[in-house]
C-alpha cells in the first residue's frame, strides 16, 4: 500500500495538473471568442465576392473561363490540402482529421488516382509523414501567429495556384474542421479547383430581386469580363482558403477548450478519489498506532 507521503505527493501533482488544464481551458475560451469574431468579420468579403462571381460567371462562356475555374479537364492527380493545428492538446481535433485524410487517400488510390498532399499545420504533417512521406509535396507551418492574417491564406493560395499552373495536379480539395459549435467540429472537405459555385448562376439571378427592373445580365464590365474573372478567380481561391483557415482556427480552440474542460473534470475526480484513500490510510495508521500503544500498556 502507498504510504501517506506518496499519496500526498500524488494529490499535489494532480492538483497542479488541474491548475494547468483549467488555465489552458480559459485561454482557449478567450482565443475561441477572438477566432469567432475574426471569422464573423471575414464573412462580408466572402459573401460579396461570391455575389460578384455569380454575376460574372453567367456572362463568360465556357471556353473563355480561366483554367483555375474549369480545371484541366482531367481527373488523374488529386491534391489534398490538409488543414491541422501546430499544437496538440486539443482532443481528437487532429486525429479525426488525419483519419479522414487517410481514408480519402486510400479511396482515391483504390480508384487508380494519384494523390499529392499539402499539409498545413505541424501536427497533420508529422502524422501523415509516417506513411505518406513521398506524397507530401509541401507543408506550411506556424501560420496565424500571433494572429491569422489574409496574407497567410494568400501565401497558401499562391502555392496551390503555382502548383496548378505547373501541371502538378488536376483537382484540389481541402480537408478541414468546420466549426459547428464549441463542442462540435465537423470534418469537411471542399473542392477548390476546379471551382464549384455553391449555386448555379442562373438560380442566383432569380433568387435576388432585381431593382428597377434591372436584371443581372446587364452589368458593364471594365476591363473585359475575361480579364476581371482572371483576376477574380485567384482572389477567390485565397478567400476560400482564408475562410477554411479561420474555421479551422476556431475549431481548434473549441476542441482544446472541450478537451481541457474534460481534463480538469477528470483531475477533480481523481483528486476526490485520492483524498478518500488518503484519509482512510491516515485513519488506519492512527488506529494501528493506538492498538500498538494499548497492547503495549496491557502487556506491562
Amino acid at each position: 500500500m502507498a504510504s501517506l507521503k506518496d499519496l500526498r505527493n500524488r494529490i499535489a501533482t494532480v492538483k497542479s495538473t488541474q491548475k494547468i488544464t483549467s488555465a489552458m481551458k480559459m485561454v482557449a475560451a478567450s482565443k475561441l471568442r477572438r477566432a469567432q469574431e475574426q471569422a464573423e468579420a471575414g464573412r462580408p468579403y466572402a459573401e460579396r465576392m461570391e455575389r460578384m462571381l455569380a454575376s460574372l460567371a453567367g456572362g463568360v462562356s465556357g471556353g473563355q473561363r480561366p483554367r483555375l475555374m474549369v480545371g484541366t479537364g482531367k481527373d488523374d492527380v488529386h491534391l489534398l490540402v490538409v488543414v491541422t493545428s501546430d499544437r496538440g492538446l486539443c482532443g481528437g481535433f487532429n486525429s479525426t482529421l488525419v483519419r479522414e485524410a487517410r481514408r480519402r487517400i486510400r479511396e482515391l488510390r483504390d480508384a487508380g488516382k494519384e494523390v499529392k498532399l499539402l499539409c498545413v499545420g505541424r501536427k497533420g504533417r508529422d502524422n501523415l509523414r509516417r506513411d505518406y512521406r513521398n506524397l507530401i509535396i509541401d507543408d506550411v507551418t506556424d501560420i496565424g501567429k500571433p494572429k491569422l492574417t489574409f496574407d497567410d491564406a494568400n501565401g497558401i493560395a499562391g502555392k496551390v495556384a503555382s502548383l496548378f499552373e505547373a501541371g502538378e495536379f488536376d483537382v484540389a480539395q481541402v480537408i478541414y474542421n468546420r466549426f459547428k459549435s464549441a463542442i462540435s467540429q465537423v470534418v469537411t472537405s471542399q473542392q477548390l479547383i476546379p471551382l464549384s459555385l455553391d449555386e448555379p448562376p442562373a438560380e442566383q439571378a432569380e433568387s435576388e430581386p432585381s431593382e428597377n427592373g434591372v436584371g443581372k445580365a446587364v452589368y458593364d464590365f471594365e476591363p473585359e469580363e475575361e480579364q476581371i474573372i482572371a483576376e477574380l478567380i485567384p482572389r477567390n481561391l485565397a478567400i476560400q482558403i482564408y475562410k477554411t483557415l479561420l474555421e479551422s482556427a476556431a475549431s481548434e480552440q473549441g476542441a482544446r477548450m472541450t478537451a481541457m474542460d474534460n481534463a480538469t473534470r477528470n483531475a477533480g475526480d481523481m483528486i476526490a478519489g485520492l483524498t478518500l484513500v488518503y484519509n482512510r490510510t491516515r485513519q488506519a495508521v492512527i488506529t494501528k498506532e493506538l492498538i500498538e500503544i494499548i497492547s503495549g500498556a496491557e502487556a506491562v
Binding site: R48, E211, D220, E222, I228, A238
Partner: protein
C-alpha cells in the same frame, strides 16, 4: 436631400465602411469612376489609388487609399472589395519613401523572375501610395 447610394468598403479581414453616401470616386482600371445613386450596374477592377467618399453631411471628401481590388456598382449600392485600405491621413511620406527604397534594393537582389514581378507589383502599389498624399 439628394439621393444616396449605399457604399461599402470591405477588406478580406473585415467590413471597413458601410454608409450611405452622395458620391464615391473609385479608381477603376481604365479611369476614375464617379458613382452616384442610380448608376448603371457595372463591375470593374480597381487600380491602386484613392477612393474619395462624399458623405451626406460633410462637404469634405473622405479619402481612403486602396491597393487594388474590385468594385461592383448597382443602381442602389456600390461595393468595393479592397486588398488593403488605409485612410490617406494615416499615410506617412517618409515611411513610404523608405519602403520604396527598400523594395528597390530587394529588386536588385532578387533573381527569380516570379520574385521580381512580385516586388515590382509592390513598388507600383507603394508609388501609388506616395502619389496619394
Amino acid at each position: 436631400m439628394a439621393d444616396t447610394t449605399a457604399f461599402e468598403l470591405v477588406s478580406p479581414e473585415r467590413l471597413l465602411m458601410s454608409q450611405d453616401v452622395e458620391m464615391v470616386i473609385v479608381p477603376g482600371a481604365e479611369g476614375n469612376i464617379g458613382v452616384l445613386a442610380r448608376h448603371a450596374p457595372m463591375i470593374s477592377t480597381v487600380r491602386p489609388g484613392v477612393i474619395e467618399i462624399f458623405g451626406t453631411r460633410s462637404a469634405e471628401a473622405e479619402r481612403v487609399f486602396v491597393a487594388g481590388g474590385f468594385a461592383e456598382v448597382t443602381p442602389d449600392r456600390c461595393t468595393v472589395l479592397a486588398e488593403e485600405a488605409v485612410p490617406v491621413s494615416d499615410l506617412d511620406r517618409s515611411e513610404i519613401e523608405q519602403s520604396i527604397k527598400d523594395l528597390r534594393e530587394d529588386l536588385e537582389d532578387a533573381k527569380e523572375p516570379a520574385e521580381r514581378t512580385a516586388i515590382e507589383a509592390r513598388i507600383v502599389v507603394t508609388q501609388a501610395k506616395l502619389a496619394a498624399i
